[in-house]
Symmetry: D2
């Protein structure tokens, strides 16, 4: 931590800062520059967490020098993590494709989808039973009934299943049926939910918040991991910008940034990122080329009547074609699927 003083800071102000640092048993290092004085803090800066040095007189600003997150930080865990979901490994050599409908609508829909995506090459089934919808009058999901259908689909096809949870109640139901919990973008900073998801020990798919920085996203993963659960997979799904041609703006740079800053696996969801079916394929390809460990792609037996996010869902034949085109690309990047 570095404390930058204002030009011509009073000696007493500098002394006050030093006193705060030393009172906590830390050491201060002073640099008297041409324009300003800078004070470096040596030692465990978390001891200063309850000190608001910013508001000491003549302090210009406080600059952190280390990242705020520890457990997901690559600096302290240089080897990439591999997260096991059922029998599927995310973060290793496999390009993991998760697919399925935005919302679970019926048993028939889920089973049909599970078979179709398995055949095409997907290895995890997704499907929402608790749907966070902008309007309270929109379809809110089948809840526990939906989870049951997902479990049946797993039993029939062997595909592990991932479902979003939106409350402690939903978590308590989900752990009976699913292989992986998903925390959605709107709940990325629902810290209570993160902790509860962490406590289950199940792998967690953590979507990036609509306007979350990468640092906040990694701090959110720290909430889950701090409960003793290292099984976190990150999912980039687009951020909010001024651009309106797509529903969100896929931050493709997040893939290499996460690979440099964290050991956690990262997958990309081009369906939510764009909201437009015809953009799903080019963005799926670009995600693989950027180094993503997997993809999440929405599919539906009949997108025209999907209860949620139909316009961005692929039909089964479209999904099959996408998988065929992904295969040589994955190979080029030394990934199997």
């Amino acid at each position: 931590m570095i404390i930058v003083m204002k030009p011509n800071a009073k000696i007493e102000s500098i002394k006050q800062v030093l006193a705060i640092i030393e009172e906590k048993g830390l050491k201060a290092h002073i640099s008297d520059g041409a324009e300003v004085t800078i004070i470096g803090v040596i030692g465990d800066k978390s001891l200063l967490a309850d000190q608001n040095i910013e508001i000491v007189d003549d302090v210009d600003r406080v600059v952190p020098v280390t990242e705020s997150y520890k457990l997901p930080n690559k600096k302290f865990h240089p080897e990439p993590s591999v997260v096991k979901v059922g029998n599927v490994l995310i973060g290793g050599d496999q390009l993991v494709i998760m697919s399925g409908p935005c919302a679970v609508e019926s048993k028939k829909q889920v089973l049909e989808t599970a078979h179709a995506i398995k055949k095409a090459g997907a290895s995890i089934l997704r499907g929402g039973a608790y749907k966070p919808r902008t309007s309270p009058y929109a379809f809110q999901g089948l809840e526990e009934e939906g989870l049951r259908y997902m479990k049946e689909a797993r039993e029939e096809t062997g595909l592990p299943v991932v479902c979003e949870v939106t409350s402690l109640e939903a978590i308590e139901s989900a752990i009976k049926y699913v292989d992986m919990l998903q925390i959605g973008a709107r709940n990325m900073q629902n810290f209570y939910l993160l902790k509860e998801a962490g406590k289950t020990g199940l792998p967690v798919l953590l979507k990036r918040g609509l306007s979350a920085t990468i640092e906040e996203w990694l701090n959110a993963s720290e909430y889950i991991m701090s409960q003793g659960n290292p099984n976190v997979v990150l999912c980039e799904r687009g951020i909010r910008t001024f651009e309106t041609a797509t529903r969100n703006t896929l931050d493709i740079s997040a893939v290499p940034v996460i690979k440099e800053k964290s050991h956690l696996p990262i997958i990309v969801d081009p369906s939510h990122a764009t909201g437009v079916r015809s953009y799903v394929k080019p963005l799926a390809m670009s995600a693989v080329a950027a180094g993503a460990d997997g993809l999440m792609i929405e599919t539906h037996p009949n997108p025209a009547i999907a209860l949620s996010d139909g316009p961005q869902s692929l039909t089964f034949p479209q999904f099959e074609t996408l998988c065929e085109e992904l295969r040589p690309l994955a190979q080029l990047f030394k990934k199997t699927f």
Copy 2:
């Protein structure tokens, strides 16, 4: 709802759109333009919610013509709403000042603050007992103990109290102690929480999400109101932009926009919007001048050691000065406090 077809759309595509509309018992109105055909839908468009007309062949886009929110919409409720919190009315002639610490830290701190802000002119005490913090290692709040102190402060001073809730558990505790529930920015689209808060019947202070549009914010209020609870107060607290000189960017335009689109009261929180103490006063003044019904201002007996958000908290003398300067301004805008 208007459906815009692509140039040279095939007759069959247009017929398919018409068939979907008519199947639901709605009427379609066709305009054959110079470049494109436009189809207007007459009737209750919610009947089309499960039809994804966007992906019918040759459809260019679907344009909604009415707002997605109903209960907070001024069009259906032209008179401004007044929300009662304890004996305080928000949305009427009074400029309502809510003040108190970001986090409840001790009984002494809360009582001292309650007396000080009451004396200066505030009419509602705020204080967080459940703190959503970016880092899991930061102080997370005193929880039920903190709520108890808030209640004691109300008993001593008569000020109604507002506390943030972050889970169903927190709601269940809070209803025993507080006069108003706060939903924080990070939970604005935690729809489960919104519904549970709505069910309590208590007034709810709904902060705008970090990257929420005004339309989404009003839809979030609809979640609360749809539970039969009309007592919602909106709070603008800054949105996320690329600007870094302030923690967030106060969207001051939200005040007149809400006044035009909704009947709900709106207050402004300049403390969280800027994160910098010296900007609190000018932004508080500007909020009143823009027509806000109230303000939320963070105060602390000793900001230098506040456990949360110290750098943006005012001392009691600073708060008193602010209130004195606000008084003639409020008067000019025909508000009392």
Copy 3:
């Protein structure tokens, strides 16, 4: 300037950084922290401008500690500047209202407007003769003819006039007719234009770019000032965000931020910030309450047929009412107009 090394940086890497610093005759100050080594640079850091220390091995990042702008910086010029435009002083006790049409359309329109706004209380006439329009087919302005009408309006009313310039050609014409040059938002980083405007010695009204940070804006003013022209007035006119209820998002915090960081005057343009006539008054009021030195308000004899930005223009009676309501507010903030 501070250089933060990566954890476990190699000794040779640190030596390499030190060598670069010392080669330029600067002094380095090393702090060996618990986790990382930090190197402070003492002396004129501009000597390192052609050294890309970021890419030396093991360097984590380079943190500047002083602002990049000098001439507009309050640290080196603590007294607020007052800029003289004709006989009007901006930045002093007067609340300066600039008003007029977005685009000069005819002599009659300009003269009529000049008289009407003067009567209501405005002290500077604005009007665009070179219009930067999104579409090449939209009205592009009357160019030199428009400037002539502006000059005639000044001769008739005594109001100084301000016009936007968009090229060197436009500057060369404008200096014959106007009292102040305006650099529009889209040209805020047209550095060539900034320098040419600076060279004229005329006062310059510098609008903030659509997505410019405050720091970039002040750097843009430095371009003008570096030509020996200290007469710069800043104009906040809204930034681009995801919100669509208003054309832009007025960053009201920019007023106190500029007042803290710079000595230059700042005015606010609520017309362009919102694009909606009914929001102009509340935002004009809020700007004055936040401490702005003036306002720029679009007016038109008949907004319904304005060639540019009609929907945000006020009629003369609306403008007169606004001025009447601004008067007691200005008085409260010890401003005359």
Copy 4:
């Protein structure tokens, strides 16, 4: 164009809208909906450009139904355009790599670079002679001298050259030396410059503005094309968001969006988009996979002492490796280079 009236709009207001439409010889189509009345305009809506229907009483909003740009619009020109720069075709089967230094610094630097990038596989040499820099004290470019070096490099290597122009003066010099003009992000809405670049007839590389929407970008290309110059190549180089881990956020979706909406070629600049050397390769790969027609990659003989943007520049060996890795990827997407 569709005009949406407010609920319970007065008959006279509707009549007034109809009168405006009919006065221009256009036809109106009225749909009386359950909640609101909608008026469709049939005919050439540009006839209404000088009518501000938004502010007629009871009008809720005006919704355009066709895009604002014509010449770059794929609807009116379905075949992809191929732009010829020297002997290089952009937009066809070739993956076109432009490379070179951010700023031309010396003859030696440019010639060395030209040979190195040609050998590695690049087909166009880039280099800035007029540099738009945030600070007026930073290196501003060698101007005409720099252009001369670029021409010499072309003569030695046969590579066509592209240089940024920032003023009419710069254009007048550049046309004597270069094969393609570049309009930089900061000048994307410098409409004067766009027109002047258009008039030269030279191919123009149009970078996307820092906060420009795709629609505004295509309108900017219309400015160039409206001068009779169809030779425009678009370049996505990142937009500004709240994320700070990268200098800008590469909007990779812009590639498929442009491919769907326009016939113009699009290339991607991962160097400026990220500002970080280690992210250049993954983003270059992702751009090719998303369907880009080319790449712009910064290279420098010695990035450590580059006068501009060193931290994002590749060394020659790094560039060579990148080209080798791009080759099989390009092949997969049926592109040669």
